[in-house]
């Protein structure tokens, strides 16, 4: 296999890798700004310089020249090379800043240049703390500056579009954002204007940067030049805890981080998963977090009055046993986890009721061929795979009106809005509801309300539109003690137990709710139905072991990137 020597260590390589990516892959850090693995390589930041040599060959014979000791003679390029654009060849010798003073010096020189016109307003910059320029300037840059002139002034806080704000002075002109719109999203909405040191990205005259994926440029911008109109100045990066999970605004299951401070989700950023969303998120995914913070129920209720959990579970069990099992309509939820839906199925089955059905949320034409789907709920695939069928609202409504159905048991879902229940039916039919938000219109007439933990407060599995099963993890705490959740939160948060600035253990903003895998067994138990699981992990083990359509979907297998399940047709 061909070999390359980097800082006196030999590595084998395959294919035709570029040097910078190869170094990053093997764990050799090289400072860089403009390079992004998903876009063309303009080599414009000039930060990734290295010294490179190749074995000298005899002009005539083409044979490798060797010195007296039999080692190949290395001919160095007269100029330092940008590693991002350089293809590795067999026998190449590379010196990075770790072994060459010249390279270290060149990297330092470049950072000096990058900083002379940079405003250095890190104390008020959203990017500070996770800013490639800041980090690399500290690591590889010079101490102080020799620049003694006025910095160049450029336009600041320009609204490029509804969701992205530009600070032209912070821009280091890496062209990642413009390349993104021309090569990745294809909207071509950004271009660099002006020239020389007055360069900055801008929209063509009379247009806005409003594509549905505009906010990705905020993450790929290596400085704080592009900020989120939504998030600007809300929190510093070190004040938030970060949890890997997935987004739920559609059925793509894009991988993300939830950034939480004091039990409020502050922002959502993409997490790389080459099988699902690569490096990107749709704007709708990023802005879909207020429902985790706002309009949350205050706790369980019985007939419109606050109640304790125990009483509420008891009342739910009482109502369930007060009607004939055939008269119960169980409604599962494409917003809830596979685990919760499975337990609901199990509850219905144990009672002898018909299998739960689910409400489909499709907005035809809203989707695209990228990360936005027509499907607006995250887990209809999970419901289908559990054998649930889509509810026919008209038939269900008729059966309720004729009194054929006497009790409706609903996981997070709004049958009133879906047209299954009408407000007037609610007197005749009993309703047990596990809602996320008080905006749920079914809530007012519900007999028992058992507030449910949202995706950012629970542990569980979702199956995206392509059959990719993925785990969610608690990003924020709920009221009450739940060992599973606390353990999960501590283990899965990228920063372990969260930053000291995130007061997740304080009472503030804790919602009094429960994951379905807590509340459903509580109800079942009161009906003498066996539903004793150690937690969602065990539930999913059972699902993976017993339901063909979930084969292999254990927590271990799903890990951080999920597993691709068999096609439904093939499995069932």
């Amino acid at each position: 296999m061909p070999k390359v020597r980097i800082d006196n260590e030999t590595y084998e390589f395959e294919g035709r890798p570029k040097l910078l990516q190869f170094c990053l892959d093997i764990g050799v850090e090289l400072p860089h700004f403009c390079y992004h693995p998903s876009m063309s390589v303009p080599a414009n930041c000039r930060q990734c310089l290295v010294r490179v040599g190749t074995p000298a060959r005899d002009r005539g014979t083409g044979e490798m020249q060797v010195d007296e000791a039999g080692n190949p003679v290395i001919q160095y390029f007269p100029k330092l090379q940008t590693s991002c654009s350089l293809e590795i060849t067999d026998g190449m010798v590379v010196e990075t800043h770790r072994s060459s003073e010249e390279v270290a010096g060149a990297q330092k020189d470049n950072l000096e240049f990058l900083l002379i016109n940079h405003p250095l307003d890190c104390p008020i910059c959203d990017q500070a703390g996770h800013c490639p320029l800041q980090i690399q300037a500290y690591k590889y840059g010079p101490e102080g500056s020799r620049f003694e002139f006025d910095k160049v002034h450029k336009p600041k806080h320009i609204r490029l579009g509804p969701r992205v704000v530009l600070d032209g002075e912070r821009c280091i002109n890496c062209t990642r954002c413009t390349r993104y719109t021309s090569e990745v999203s294809g909207s071509h909405q950004l271009t660099i204007i002006e020239r020389g040191v007055r360069n900055y990205p801008m929209t063509p005259p009379g247009t806005e940067f409003d594509e549905p994926y505009s906010m990705n440029v905020i993450d790929i911008c290596p400085v704080g030049a592009l900020t989120s109109a939504d998030f600007r100045f809300k929190a510093r990066i070190w004040e938030m805890s970060k949890t890997p999970s997935i987004t739920v605004a559609n059925a793509k299951g894009s991988n993300c981080y939830y950034w939480v401070k004091d039990n409020l989700v502050m922002k959502v950023t993409p997490r790389q998963n080459m099988d699902v969303n690569e490096y990107w998120l749709a704007d709708e995914d990023r802005l879909d977090y207020e429902r985790f913070n706002k309009d949350r129920p205050a706790g369980p209720m019985i007939n419109g009055s606050a109640a304790g959990w125990d009483a509420a579970y008891g009342e739910a069990a009482r109502l369930l046993s007060s009607v004939d099992p055939s008269e119960v309509l169980f409604i599962g939820s494409p917003f809830a986890t596979v685990e919760d839906n499975y337990l609901l199925t199990k509850l219905a089955d144990s009672l002898g009721s018909p299998a739960p059905q689910y409400i489909r949320h499709v907005e035809i034409g809203k989707g695209d061929d990228w990360l936005i789907t027509d499907e607006k709920a995250p887990n209809h695939q999970g419901c289908e795979r559990l054998g649930m069928s889509e509810i026919d609202a008209e038939i269900a409504a008729a059966r309720i009106q004729t009194g054929e159905i006497k009790l409706v048991y609903v996981l997070e879902e709004d049958p009133v809005v879906a047209g299954v229940l009408s407000a007037s039916d609610m007197d005749a039919v009993k309703v047990i509801l596990h809602p996320y938000n008080v905006t749920n219109e079914t809530l007012h007439g519900a007999n028992v309300v058992l507030p449910a933990a949202t995706i950012v407060e629970t542990v569980g599995t979702f199956v995206n539109i392509d059959g990719h099963a993925q785990r969610v993890r608690p990003a924020k705490a709920i009221r009450g003690v739940n060992r599973t959740l606390v353990m999960e939160m501590g283990e899965s948060r990228a920063d372990r137990h969260g930053t000291p600035f995130d007061r997740w253990h304080n009472e503030t903003n804790l919602v009094d709710c429960q994951p379905g895998w807590v509340s459903l067994p509580e109800v079942a138990e009161r009906l003498d139905i066996e539903m004793a699981y150690k937690g969602p992990r065990q539930v999913m083990e059972e699902v993976a072991g017993t339901v063909d359509a979930f084969q292999g979907a254990t927590y271990e297998a799903m890990g951080l990137e999920g597993v691709r399940l068999m096609e439904i047709g093939a499995a069932v």
Binding site: P42, N44, C45, G196
Partner: protein
């Protein structure tokens, strides 16, 4: 005078007969051009048995023609980098962006002898099996662009350009493209981006234009004057061309002489002219009988030579390299003894600062910083240590950028300071200010 006794490679240059810009009235008109033997080389090339495309390239190689756009690269060699035709499009770009300060010779060709340029283009396209050429002209040359459009239409009508040229099966389109006022568009890869309708940011190389050029297809870029030499080479033979001027850098050259001379202008002579001959005889000496202080031989980016460095130096790659400069575009700027070199350098740094495309860090940031410092020195506010800083910054820019504009910006700074250091030091305040001694009385007080 000393200049007359010194050895010149230009031979009997005083008897030289102009070939690029011959003294023929209305030569820009196609009928006049034809009446004076115009388009004969093209006819021979396309119709004659002798000139296969390879034979044309070989002839150009044998002539020793080097590019006139600045880098003096062997023209025939460059042509031979084009891959074998694969049926897809291939392009020639004729570079008439001419924006380097001190350079104004392509304009003469486009104004007075455009058909020679068109003919050269057609022969080059024939040699490289190219069927489209873009002639990229700086937009400020609006009048000559209009005139060339008119003349080009006539060339099309007469079958020298376009479909089935002169009844052969060789077809080639020629499109004149107007630039929009950016020096960087003259850089070959930037020119291609600009042609594609994109922002004119130079590309990284490799891939080189011959592999991946305009619209991703094989492309050759040549300067206007370079291509104008081609019909002459075919007509008079490679050996005629090779025998003219300096052996390693032969041929006729348009010297664009400007600055403090009595007769600035564009002069056609062989390469290898003594700089002193060009100043004293061709340009009729320095204005007001003053002495020369500095000569910038080939456009503002080439290092200036002090008066005491130009004796015996001839205008060709070899001699200028030895002297410590470059041939560049042969746009020679002469500065007399009263010239303020600090001020001159400030103006040059301003140009490169203004023209940096801004794509890459060292050039975008460095060019402005250079101007800041030199301006401060010019105002009398600089310090001697600024001169070291300038040298440092040049080292931080040279060879570390996408295109050569950063080098072009750094060289004049490095070499002007190097060669005229006293003048700069005299303008600077000292870096170290001596602490004045305390008066006696205070000293005594301090001791008690």
């Amino acid at each position: 005078m000393e200049a007359k006794t010194a050895k010149t490679k230009a031979g009997e240059w005083r008897k030289y007969e102009r070939v690029l810009l011959p003294p023929i009235k209305d030569l820009h008109r196609i009928d006049v051009y034809e009446a004076n033997g115009g388009y004969k080389a093209l006819k021979d090339a396309i119709k004659g048995e002798k000139w296969t495309p390879t034979a044309v390239t070989d002839e150009v190689k044998a002539s020793g023609l080097r590019g006139r756009g600045g880098a003096s690269f062997g023209c025939g060699l460059k042509w031979s980098f084009m891959p074998k035709p694969d049926g897809g499009p291939r392009y020639l770009c004729c570079n008439g962006d001419e924006s380097e300060p001190g350079t104004f010779k392509d304009r003469q060709l486009m104004e007075y002898n455009p058909h020679l340029v068109f003919e050269g283009i057609m022969i080059a396209c024939y040699a490289m099996s190219i069927s489209t050429c873009y002639l990229y002209v700086r937009g400020e040359y609006a009048d000559w662009i209009d005139q060339m459009e008119t003349e080009l239409a006539k060339a099309y009508a007469k079958g020298y350009v376009g479909k089935n040229i002169l009844g052969s099966d060789f077809s080639c389109e020629l499109i004149i493209h107007k630039g929009a006022g950016a020096y960087i568009c003259g850089e070959e890869t930037s020119l291609m981006e600009s042609l594609e309708g994109k922002r004119a940011y130079p590309r990284i190389k490799p891939p080189f234009p011959a592999q991946y050029g305009v619209f991703g297809r094989p492309t050759t870029i040549n300067n206007v004057e370079t291509l104008a030499c081609v019909p002459l080479i075919l007509e008079r033979g490679a050996s005629w061309y090779a025998g003219l001027g300096a052996a390693k850098h032969p041929g006729p050259v348009l010297y664009g002489i400007s600055g403090h001379v009595n007769r600035p202008g564009v002069y056609e002579y062989p390469t290898g002219m003594l700089i002193t001959d060009l100043i004293e005889e061709v340009a009729r000496g320095v204005r007001g009988g003053k002495k020369v202080k500095a000569v910038v031989p080939g456009g503002s980016s080439t290092p200036p030579l002090r008066a005491d460095m130009i004796d015996g130096v001839t205008m060709d790659v070899e001699s200028l390299r030895e002297a410590g400069s470059m041939m560049g575009t042969a746009g020679m700027l002469v500065m007399d003894e009263d010239t303020d070199m600090v001020s001159w350098l400030r103006r040059v740094t301003h140009f490169y600062h203004h023209e940096s495309c801004g794509q890459c860090t060292p050039c975008r940031e460095g060019t402005g910083w250079l101007e800041d410092i030199v301006s401060r020195i010019e105002r009398g506010e600089g310090r001697v240590r600024d001169l070291d800083l300038l040298a440092d910054l040049c080292s931080q820019m040279e060879g570390r950028t996408v295109c050569a504009l950063a080098d072009a910006a750094a060289w004049p700074v490095r070499y002007t300071i190097d060669r005229f250091r006293d003048e700069f030091v005299a303008r600077c305040r000292p870096s170290h200010v001596a602490v004045p001694a305390l008066p006696e009385s205070e000293l005594e007080e301090a001791e008690t």
